[in-house]
């Protein structure tokens, strides 16, 4: 083990991150402190110590929100994976540099759009008089507009767009680490391209899939603008509820309790996914 003396810049470099981490921990402590105090209706200042906020969370309304949020996260992760895998695969395996750049730009562009801009553009696409409905009506495929705004479906579509770039990047990293000799070996042993993919390429990219799904899950769980604007109050997630409780009802203690529960829950889910992925990481994608 190297002594600090061996690394003269260590203290200099670590100090800023310690300060930032200190700020985060302090604010979390404040939120935790809020969550353990009673709400006095009509007052911004919370009352005395109480565990009431956490027991209230067991009410059906909030339990529902938890379940809905998890479902939205799971669906988003699933559909993102479904879209991102072929994109990432093509990105890694494409031979033409032009096609590679085109795919990369397509996949990564959503990262450069602001959250609000991106969300409003989905409103334009998904609205009753929006792009999708106009096209379908123009083609005579539907008479009545399909309701996509203010639905869970709309929220998931917009969230997939948010998480796609990160998933593509993580999957491409995993796929690019797969030695092509494994696939050649499978082919020489009689596996068709499809079976080679299913028995060799896909299992070897599992560590990337787990990492991508974990990230997508955590990210969607805390997403606010998308479910708020596209869901328009019809889709309740933990973050929209926190906003509503805090800024419409001014019930800061309960909002704090809900945030805290959400944080703990996310950490638990990530820990669980990582645990599931451990044997896969051990086996390693490359010899």
């Amino acid at each position: 083990m190297a002594q600090p003396a061996d690394r003269p810049f260590l203290r200099l470099f670590v100090t800023p991150s310690v300060l930032v981490a200190g700020g985060f921990i302090a604010s979390l402590a404040v939120i935790l402190q809020y969550s353990l105090r009673a709400h006095i209706p009509g007052e911004l200042e919370p009352g005395g110590f109480s565990l009431g906020n956490f027991t209230d969370m067991l009410k059906p309304l909030y339990a529902r929100a938890f379940v809905d949020t998890v479902l939205i996260c799971a669906e988003t992760a699933f559909f993102t994976l479904l879209l991102a895998y072929p994109l990432a695969f093509a990105l890694v395996r494409a031979k033409s540099p032009f096609l590679k750049s085109l795919l990369l730009v397509t996949a990564v562009t959503p990262l450069f759009l602001g959250e609000i801009v991106r969300t409003y553009s989905w409103i334009i696409v998904l609205g009753n008089t929006g792009f999708v409905n106009s096209v379908l009506r123009g083609l005579g495929l539907i008479d009545q507009p399909i309701q996509m705004m203010f639905t869970k479906f709309g929220v998931v579509v917009a969230l997939v767009h948010v998480t796609l770039p990160v998933m593509v990047i993580m999957l491409s990293a995993a796929i690019s680490h797969i030695d092509r000799d494994y696939e050649k070996a499978a082919a020489s042993l009689g596996a068709s391209p499809v079976r080679t993919f299913l028995t060799v390429t896909l299992p070897l990219s599992l560590p990337g899939i787990i990492a991508g799904v974990t990230t997508s899950f955590a990210w969607t769980f805390s997403a606010f603008a998308t479910p708020q604007l596209i869901g328009g109050g019809q889709v309740s997630t933990i973050s929209t509820l926190v906003y509503q409780l805090g800024f419409a009802n001014f019930n800061f203690p309960f909002a704090a309790a809900l945030s805290f529960a959400g944080l703990v829950f996310t950490i638990m889910v990530i820990a669980l996914l990582r645990r599931a992925a451990r044997p896969l990481e051990k086996m390693g994608g490359h010899a």
Binding site: D181, A185, A186, G190, T199, M283, A287
Partner: protein, 375 residues
Amino acid sequence: MNSLADLPRTTDIAGQPNAAKPAVRIDGVSKAFGDVTALHEAWLAVGRGEFLTLLGPSGCGKTTILNLIAGFLEADSGEIFLDGAPITNDPAHKRQIGIVFQNYALFPHMTVEKNVGYGLRMRGVDKTEIARRVGEALELVKLPGYGGRRPRELSGGQQQRIALARALVIRPKVLLLDEPFSALDKNLRSAMQVELKEIQRSLGVSTVFVTHDQSEALSMSDRIAVMSAGRIRQIAAPGEIYRAPADRFVASFVGDTNIFQATRVSPTSVIVGGFLIDVMPGPLEGTIDGQEVELFARPEELSLTSAGAPGTLPAEVVTKVYQGGYSDFYVTTPLAAERVLVRIHGPAALELWPEGAKIGLVLPKTGANAFPPGE
């Protein structure tokens, strides 16, 4: 029924390829990558049960030939035959070819058993039959009982055996080996070479072996195809490649050699420093009597004696290296541009002359090779 003994075989193992129906035949195959021609119209036949080595420096086209046989690359022109049937347009997975990769490419997410049985599962062989044949293959490579392990739990040598078992268990029509020893340390490498050769002999499986290591090629092959810059320069048995190389490249790539200035006096003899030396016929075609040529002599064909002895070239010892059973003397002589390596056998050879000593260098009277001057 001993399944691994069912491999195609003939009695014609050591000699020339079975001309009627070679295991692999490559007819005028060319391959280019962009502007770079990796292979210029290669012609090659691998006999049944033969161990043929493709030898050459990196970028010579040997791996390209391997990939063309395996089906990982498509030929630009020419035809490839496997057991007499054209396979030029068959995809890799329909070719029935076993390959051992340089890095072994054992599937890291499968046990040894699953790895070895993979090819059989892809062929829809039933479970009990797979278990039996996998067991047999593991016996063959002397790793019975390793079925439940993961590849990463095995040493390099063990991984290589498993890779070999995986390639052989499908009863391939030809076994391709892509520099399989390059990742092993020196002692293990020699042991694996002997073992691989024994397995190959006992099964009589036709084998194409790719290497850049000339000693590996000389020790293992029935025949060697020496390649350079996308062309096959010579195909012959190891002894012939060593004794009668077809051109300068083969002569200098395979084994150590020394080059002397010489003058052609006939198609089969040259003069070096006033001495007449008989050379192998062939390479001097295209030159004329009296032309400057170069004599190539192996280190063990040369000998040293005291200075000024009749029939010797004047030379001086620069460095000597003790090698145990023999000693290498590096000497200079006006008739050679580079230092000349002379290999003297016997444990006491080192004591004969000190460094700096003036000595006489004795050239071979016959058996050496002469080539037109350099490329």
